[in-house]
Each structure stands twice: as C-alpha cells, then as structure tokens.
Amino acid sequence: MSATTMTLNQPLKNDRRGAIMVIGVFFACMMIGWMWMLVGLGDAMIWRDRSQEAADAVTYSSAALQAQAMNLISFINILMLIMAAFYLLTAFIFNILDFLHWILGSTTDKACFPPPGDSSADSRSKKMQALSSIPIMAWLKPLASVWTKLAAGVEKIHDGSTNGTPSTLSVGGILDKYESGMIFLMPKFSDFEDLVSYAAPWGGTVAGIYMSQQYADYGQKRIGLALSASLIPATFTPGQAGSLMPTAQYKACANDECTQFLNCDSANPSSCQQYTGGDKREGLPVQIPNGGFKALCDYIGAKISSVVKNAFQGLGIPFLGTIMGWLMSFIGNQFSSNFCTQNAKGFFTGPEVADVFLRFTTAWTPPFGGHNNNEKCPKNDWGQGGGGATGGPKPCNGVYQMKLGNGKQFWQDPVDAGGPHLVVDYAMNGNDWFQVWGGVWGGNRDSSQAYSVQHEDKLVAVAGMQSNPGGTWNAGLIPQDTLSKWDFYLAQAEFYYDCDQAWSGSNCNSSSNASYNIGWRARLRRMHGLSWGQDLLGYMWNGSLGPNSGLQTRYQQFFKNKFGNGMASKLGSTITSAGLTWLVGQGASFIGGAINPASSVPDFIH
C-alpha cells in the first residue's frame, strides 16, 4: 500500500495536516475583507472628489466663458470709446476752425462783382481797413492787415482751400472720412456685442457639458449642466425693452392705460411718470443704453471730470478739486450734448456770436464778396445745407448729426444704430445675475454591478445646512447613499468685475468702469441654494428693473383700472383712491408673501 493510499484511508479526525491552513485561510479572508474595504473607501472618496471637481469644472467653465465674454464686450466698448474720443477731438477742432472760417471768410470764393476779384476774406479785410480810419477804431488796422492771411491759413486747415468738398489732408476732410468710418464700424461693433451677449451664456452651458464628459470613471461618463439667469434674455431686439419679463410699458401719458383713474389722467398729467424702461438685457447682464452711442461721450466727459477732480484734490487746496470736477463735468456734458446727439450742432451754434462779431468788424454792413462760394461741409453736412453761399462761408452745423446708410440716426438710436453694451443697473457683483449654478450626475458604476462605490460611500460625508434666515447647521450628516440622493453634485461660480472698491462706489457702478475695463473674472463660490421665491419670483413680482416694473405694479394697476373709474363716480375720487390703494396694498402683501417665502434649497459646504 502506498503512502498516498494510506493517507487517504486515515480517518479525518486523526488527520492533523492543514490545521494552520484553516487559520491562514481565515486570516486571509479577513485581510481580503479589510483590503476590499480600503479600496472601496478610496474609490468612494476619489469618486466624490472627482464628482465635486467635475461639478466645479462644469460651473467654472460657464462662469469663465461669461467673464471672458464680458471682457470682450468691455474691450469693444473701449475701442468704441477711443473712436468716440477721437471723433470728439476732431469735431471740436473742426468746430473751432469752422467758426473762424465763418468769421474770417474764404480766400477762394472770388467774385467778379463787387469789387471784381475780391473774395469774402478780401472784402471783409477792406471793410475793416476802411473802418479803422475812424479814430476810435484805429486798433482794427493791424488786424485788417493780417486778416486775409489769417483767413487763408484757417481755410487751408479747415478744408484745404478747395472751395468745395474738403481735401483729405484738411481737418474737414479727416472728419469726413472719419465719420464715414464711424457709422460703418461702430454699429458693426454693437452687433458683434449683441452676438456675444446672447451666445456667451449658452456657450458656457455647452462648455460645461463638454467638461462634464471629460470626467469619466469606471468607463462611465458624467452628465453635467451649468445654468445661469443670463441664459434667458429679456429682449430679442437689442436696444429695445423686451416683453418677456415684467415691464411697465404704459407709463407714458400717450398710452391709453395711462389715462385711467389713478394712473394718469388728463386733469393731472404730472401724475403719469414718463417710463420708458423695461428690461433691455441681452442674455449677459448688459444692455444698450437709451442714449445709444451718446453714452460713450457721456462716459468720456465723466471720466475726464473725475481725473481732473482727483488731480486738483491732490493739490490739497480746499474745494478746488470739487469745483474743478463740477466745471469739467459741465464741460463734458456740453461736449456730449453738442457733438453726440441727433440735433448736435457743435459749439457756437447760434449765429449771434459770429454774426455780431462779423457785423462789428465790417461796420455793420453785410459782408460782400465770395459770390462763387461753392464750399461743401464734410459729409455734405448730412443734408443740413451748410457750407458756402453768396456772401461767404456758412457754418457746418449739421456735420455732427451723423446718419446711417439707411438715413436713420447714428446718435441716440439704440435700436437701429446700437451702442456700447453697459452692465444693467440691477446686476451687481455677487447677486444672482452673475451666478452660475452647475451640477453633475453619474460617473459611478451601474448599481447592478457588484463593485460600485455605493458600498462604502456611507462613510464619505456630504455637508449641508439650512439657509433660512439665521440659518443653522443640520444636526446630523446627510445620508450618503449614492443610489438614492447624493449621486448629484452641485457647485456655484460667479463672474464678477474685480473692482477694488465697494460696488456701490462711483468707480464700480454698472454703467461706468465695469463696462469699460477688462477686469472681469470668474471664481467658484460657496454653494448657495437658489432661492426661487426670493430671487426669481421676487424679480417677477417686485421688479428688479426699476420703479414700477414688476408684476406687483401690474396687479395694482389692473385693479385700479378695472374698478377705479366706476367707484370714483359713486364714492368720489378721494375715498376711492384711498380705499383702493389700501385694498390693493393688502392684496399685494398677501400675494408677495405667498410667492416670496424665505426658503431655499439648503446651502452646502462643498
């Protein structure tokens, strides 16, 4: 009998072999269990960290893209600003030259009679010469002697002495070409800003979706989405208030609704406020201001005023900076209104100054000469009839009233011409208009598979807290089962104008530096639950668009319109007014309280 046969035939109870192995197997199983748990915990932590990273990436991508878009808009605004500044400078120089040219006369508009061959400048010089023979007017003699030379010099700079369309090398010629370029380029810039402001938020969402796809674990891709208030524009017609969001559009006296009781009636027209507001936001929280391109001139004036004020304040002389600031502000406003409006005529608009001076220096007689004056203003004075006529040059007052190719106005026409895109007033750093909320789901193995992170992830915590006023932390930890609720990860980011002062300060307000500086950035923020009641419905109800812009006003005006006139005829307007105001106020409070609860999704640490 072989040894093997003997072994097999031994009774099991007497077999001592393998006793250690039993213990070894037990230990090994235990160790495998430990290791399995260790691996599982590591996987769960990595999965959660990766999920949070994915949510951050999704959200931040959208916010960053929108910040870049805001920077792009600011950059284009700066380009517009430079163009407007050059225009203002050129227009002002031309305005002065035009005024001088008007007074001095032309040297190229020689006429055959009377006197033969005299230009308007010659004629005025001779009249002045004659006038200087009077003893008290003798001081005019030296002026008369250089008059023609002065006129020739001014004329050369003014229009190149062409006695016709200004030459290219003259100020008038430069202004001519420059205005053509402005009316071509700047509306195109505005259109491009429209495109950016509408497309960027959606581009951010697409970027977020793409980023979420890059975070795949266990072969499973994550699905992510970034949402922001900027995705929904308030208007689809740039420059014009949209009707998607609540807007009080009937506050103008001409509107039928405005003639209703308590709104605005013919007996008391001052009770009707002219309200042309409404939300003109185009996706991103920017809009074309009512003044269109005039806003550029306004900003230049304000900026120069601010710089001068600061410079003089630095001298330490009391009130000097403030006074200079006011002065520069006044001058800035004058520049804006005289060169950047639909009716702009430049300075020295009235004939009074020039005419008085002209008549004085020519002995109160009409200036002769210059009968063949064929001068044309730059851009042919936009059809204003300026230029030259019998008797010398005429002012080119219409040269600042630019028009588009289709004849519509360039200045103050936000719908047809466009304008710089400025941050809307109600969007401020930190508020919901600059926020992006994002979330990801997935990346975990299918629950049907044995190995997925949900086995150990109950040990990997998610922090949450209530965000009621005076919020408190949740007493316990939020359940961690990824198969139930916490498979969804959230993050919040914002784009903001990185201003080093308080946002309410003059240097950081919406239509000022924030719209003209490339200082927009993005950052992750603590996740605040979106307060639907406070933010979204509050926007609808209270109206974040300025006074009387929300549904609340509509509701109040509906009741007043519906019952006001009838009640007033029976109870009298005083009682009706007081009664209705109280009633609708109570109703508004009730409705406002009902849809505006102080509740929100809990905030999160992660």
């Binding site: 006793a19 960290d49 930190g430 930890l477 903001y496 950052r523 603590r526 640490i605």
Partner: protein
Amino acid sequence: MSRHKEGLLRARRGAVLAEFAIAFMPICAMFLCLAQLSRYSIARLAVLHAAQVTVRACAVIHDPDPGHSDSLDGPDGDINRAADVAMGPFEGSQWMGEIKHSTPVCNHDGSNDATNHGNGGTDKVTLDATYTCGIPIANTIVCGASKQKTISVFAQFPHQGAQYIPKSQ
C-alpha cells in the same frame, strides 16, 4: 543513544500543537498588525479627504461673499465645519472611533496678487489628526508605546477670492 531518547525523537504526538504554538503567535501578530495598518490607512484616507474638502471650503468661502446674508457660522466656523462634517462618519463610528482631528489651519498665499483678497494664489490647509491604535498587541507594534500616531496631511486649492468689497463693509 538510549532507547528513551530514540523514542522521543520518533514520537509524532503533539507535533501539531508545538507547530501551532510556534507559528500561531507570529501569524496572529502579523494579522493584527495588518488589520491595524488597514484601519490606520482608512483613517489616513479619511483625513486626506477631509483636508481636500476643507481646503475647497477655505478657498471658496474665506473671502467676502456679497449677495448672501451670511448669518451662519461665519467663514472660519464654516471651514472648521467642513472638516467636522467630512470626518464625522469616521469620528462618530464605533469601529473607527479612534481618530480625532484638530482644527484645520487655512493659509492663503497672497504673494501672487496685490491684496490678500484677490483672485490668485493658493490656499493651503494642514489638517492634523490623532489616531489611537486600538487593536491589542498590534497597537504597540504599529503605533509604539504611546499607541497613538499623528496624521498630518496637506491639501491645496486655487484661491477663489475677489477684490471687491461687499456693501456691508
């Protein structure tokens, strides 16, 4: 050689017991040590995860947070809370109740930006925890006579600041 000695050498009875007595103790000790090391590794993983959660909280909520009425714990309290919550399941667990973390230290490196609140630089968190080895025999072998090990982990995250000042300030 005497017959008695020859009999002892040939005897097979008790061999397994001797073998067991000799082999079991080291094997058992090794097993306990591995178990202790596993638990220590889990604790270290937990602290690392908590540090990562904390440093993100530090980066995100440390700076001004305008637009939000923050009547909660306040930035520092919330950063500490992040660590508490992340460590909660482990510190509150019966079988893993051997670890206690200290208050995390959140540092912002503002050298990359002009102000201490700007969006730049890196936030760093050092989170220390004391792990008490609880498995008999192995606790002394793995953790020494004090039966405790200090876990110190480090995590960093880009600072998410902003220069602008909230209205309230």
